[in-house]
C-alpha cells in the first residue's frame, strides 16, 4: 500500500499549505486565459456600430470634461503642460488600475455560476481581467500617443525623456496593484458582502487622492504625504514625467509604490488561493 501512495497525481484535502499557489496548473491552462481575454475583448462591443471606437470615446470625453472643469473653471495648474495631455495621461493610467480593481473585486460573485460547476485554476479569471483591460489600455495609450506626437511636433511644451523606458514597468505595477487589491477584496467579500459597498465609491474617492487631476507640486508640502500614501501616486507621477518632462520625479515615491504593490499582490494571491477552494459554500 505504502509504495503505491507515492504516485497520486491529484490529492484533494481540506487544508493545504498557504503558499502552495499551484502556479504550474495556471500555466497548463494558459490557453483558457487567452480565450477568456479574447472573449472579454470581442464580446463587449458586439452588436455595436462603432465597435472598439468606444474604447477611445470614454477617456477622450473624460479628458475634455476634466480639461474644462479642472483646467478652465477651477484653474488648477498643470505645470505648464498642455492640459489635454496632462489629464489624459492621468486618466488612462488611473482607469486601468481602477478597472482591474473593480472587476477583480467581484470575480467570485459574478463567476459563481461557472465556478460552481467546473474546476479550473480560479486565478485564471482575475488574470484574464487584467489582460483584457491591458488591451483596452493599449488602445487608449495609442490615442494618447497620437495626441502626444501632435504636441511634440507642433510645440515645445513637453520634454519626453529616457524615463520612458520605465513605462512597461509602470504598466505592470498598475496591473499588479489593481489585481492584488482586487483579489484581496474579492476573497473577503465571498462571505460578507459589506466591503463591496466600500469599494465602489472608495476607488472613486481614491482618484482624488492621487495626482490625476492636479500635479503633486501644486500641493502644499504638509498635505503631500496623504497623496503619496496612495501607491498609485508615484506611478502616475513617473508615467507623466516620462512623457511630458514636467512635474517632479522622485524615485523614492516609485520605490514605495513598487514595494507596496509587491506586498499587496502577494497577500492578495495567497488569500485568494485559500478562499477559492471552498468559497462556493458561502458565496
Amino acid at each position: 500500500m505504502k509504495e503505491e501512495e507515492e504516485d497520486w497525481t491529484l490529492v484533494i484535502e481540506p487544508r493545504s499549505s498557504l503558499f502552495d499557489l499551484q502556479l504550474k496548473e495556471v500555466w497548463r491552462y494558459r490557453d483558457l486565459l487567452q480565450l477568456f481575454v479574447r472573449r472579454d475583448f470581442v464580446a463587449v462591443y458586439k452588436q455595436t456600430i462603432l465597435g472598439p471606437i468606444w474604447f477611445f470615446i470614454q477617456p477622450l470625453f473624460t479628458t475634455i470634461i476634466f480639461t474644462f472643469v479642472f483646467g478652465r473653471v477651477a484653474g488648477i495648474s498643470t505645470n505648464g503642460v498642455p492640459p489635454l495631455l496632462f489629464y489624459m495621461a492621468g486618466i488612462i493610467s488611473w482607469n486601468y488600475f481602477a478597472e482591474c480593481l473593480n472587476t477583480t473585486s467581484t470575480v467570485f460573485i459574478t463567476n459563481a455560476n461557472i465556478f460552481g460547476k467546473v474546476y479550473f485554476p480560479r486565478l485564471i479569471t482575475p488574470l484574464s481581467i487584467v489582460f483584457s483591460n491591458m488591451l483596452k489600455f493599449g488602445v487608449q495609450l495609442a490615442l494618447f500617443l497620437v495626441v502626444f506626437i501632435y504636441y511634440l511636433v507642433t510645440t515645445d511644451l513637453i520634454q519626453p525623456n529616457f524615463y520612458l523606458l520605465l513605462v512597461p514597468f509602470l504598466i505592470i505595477l498598475m496591473a499588479a496593484l489593481g489585481l492584488g487589491f482586487g483579489m484581496l477584496i474579492s476573497s473577503m467579500t465571498t462571505k460578507y458582502r459589506d466591503l463591496k459597498f466600500l469599494v465602489t465609491f472608495g476607488v472613486q474617492l481614491a482618484m482624488y487622492a492621487s495626482p490625476v487631476i492636479y500635479p503633486l507640486s501644486s500641493l502644499p508640502e504638509k498635505y503631500r504625504f496623504i497623496i503619496l500614501a496612495n501607491p498609485m501616486s508615484g506611478i502616475i507621477e513617473t508615467f507623466r514625467f516620462a512623457f511630458l518632462g514636467a512635474g517632479e520625479l522622485n524615485l523614492n515615491y516609485l520605490v514605495y509604490s513598487t514595494l507596496f504593490t509587491i506586498v499587496i499582490f502577494f497577500i492578495g494571491l495567497v488569500i485568494f488561493n485559500k478562499v477559492q477552494k471552498s468559497f462556493m459554500d458561502t458565496v
Binding site: L10, V11, I12, E13, L35, A43, K46, V118, T282
Partner: protein
Amino acid sequence: MSTAIKVENLSKQYRLGVLGTGTISHDLNRWWHQVRGKEDPYLKVGETNDRTSKGNSEYVWALRDINFEVQQGEVLGIIGKNGAGKSTLLKLLSRVTSPTTGSIKARGRIASLLEVGTGFHEELTGRENIFLNGAILGMTKAEIRSKLEEIISFSGTERYIDTPVKRYSSGMRVRLAFAVAAHLEPEILIVDEVLAVGDAEFQSKAIGKMQDVAQGEGRTVLFVSHNMASIQTLCTRGILMSNGQVHTDHTVAEAISQYLSLNTKDTSTSYKASPDAINDYVWIESAFIESNDSINNQVMTGQDITIIVKYRAKELGLKCSLHVGVYNHFGDKILHLGSIYGGFDTFLTEKFGTIQCKIPRLPLVEGKYTVNFSLHVDGRPFHRIEDAVALFVENGDYFGNGKLPNPRESKVLVDQSWSVI
C-alpha cells in the same frame, strides 16, 4: 489494474440558514480555536443530512466518512435519493469545493460534466464557444482544433456553427455543449445527469458515446443518474448513497435492488382510505386488483385482471372520472388508464359506488409495479393516491407459444401477427 480514485474518510459539512451579522460569531470562535491549535468546535455538532426531519443543529453533514476506491477503467454508478449526497460527492471530486475532512487521491486528469454548456457566451458563435467551453473543461487549443470537425458533426449543428449561441434553440445548445464535453479525454470522467437532456435520438447518441468512452477507451467514469436503465447499461459497479453515507458498494444490480427496496413505501395488496380523507365531497374509499375473481396483486402476464375502485361521496351528482397510472419499479409510468378511454366520460356520484376497469390479457412484462389512482371532479384532479397498490407480475404465456421477449427489451407486449408475403 491500478486504483484510479481513492476516497478516504471523506466528509463535508454545510451550514444551514442565512449568512449575516449573526454568523460572524461562529467564524470568530472557529478562528480563535484554530489560532490556539484546537479542533474546530463545530465539527462535532453536525447532524446527518435527513432533509425531511427538522434537526436541532445549524450544521449538517452532507457527506460523512465516505470510503471507496475506483479501479482504472471501471464505470461506477452512483445512485441515491435526492439529498443523499451524490452531488456533493461529485462537487468534491471535481474540486468545485473542498472537503471538510478526509481526502481524495486520484491518478490522472479529472474532468466533470456537472452541467453541460458551462461558460457558453451568448454573443460568441458556436465555433468560438467550442474553444471557450473546451478550454474551461481543461483542453488545450491544439486538442480542440484537432477535434473540431468531429465535435461539430457530433453536435449536428453544422449549419449554425458561425452564428452566435444566443440564436440557438435550447436543444441545439445542449447538443453543442455535450459534443464538446464528450470529446474531452481525461483519464477520469465525472458525469451527472447530462443524459436527461435532448431528444431521444440525441440521448441514444450520448449513451453510445459514454459507452465508447468507458469500454472502448478504458477510461474511468463516475456516473450519477436517477435513470436506473442507463445506470444498468453503462455501469460495472454501483454505489448506493443514503443520508450522506455509502449504503451499498456492490455490483450495479445489487445497488439498484437495494435502492429500490429503500424506496419501497407500500406493498399493500389493497388500498383503504384513512379516516382523515373523509372530510371531502368525494373520496376513494378503497381500491384493489382482482384476478380470477379474488383480490390478488400477484398476477401473470397475459392474465385478465380487474381494477376495482370503491368511492363514497357527501355531495351527490358530482361529475367524476377516474384515472389509473401504472409505474414500474424504476418509477417510469408504463400505463395510463382512464375511464374516458374505454367506457364513460363521467359518472355522477351517489352516496357510494363501485367502478371497475377490466384489462383483458395484461400486457405488462414481469416485474414489480405500483398503481396510482386519481379521481377527477369536473375534469380536474381532486383526490390522488400515490403508490396505492403494488402489483407483482410474473412471466406468463402472453403469446400462447411460450415465448417472451427479455423484460428489459420490451416494457409492454402487444399482439402481433407476422407473415412472409
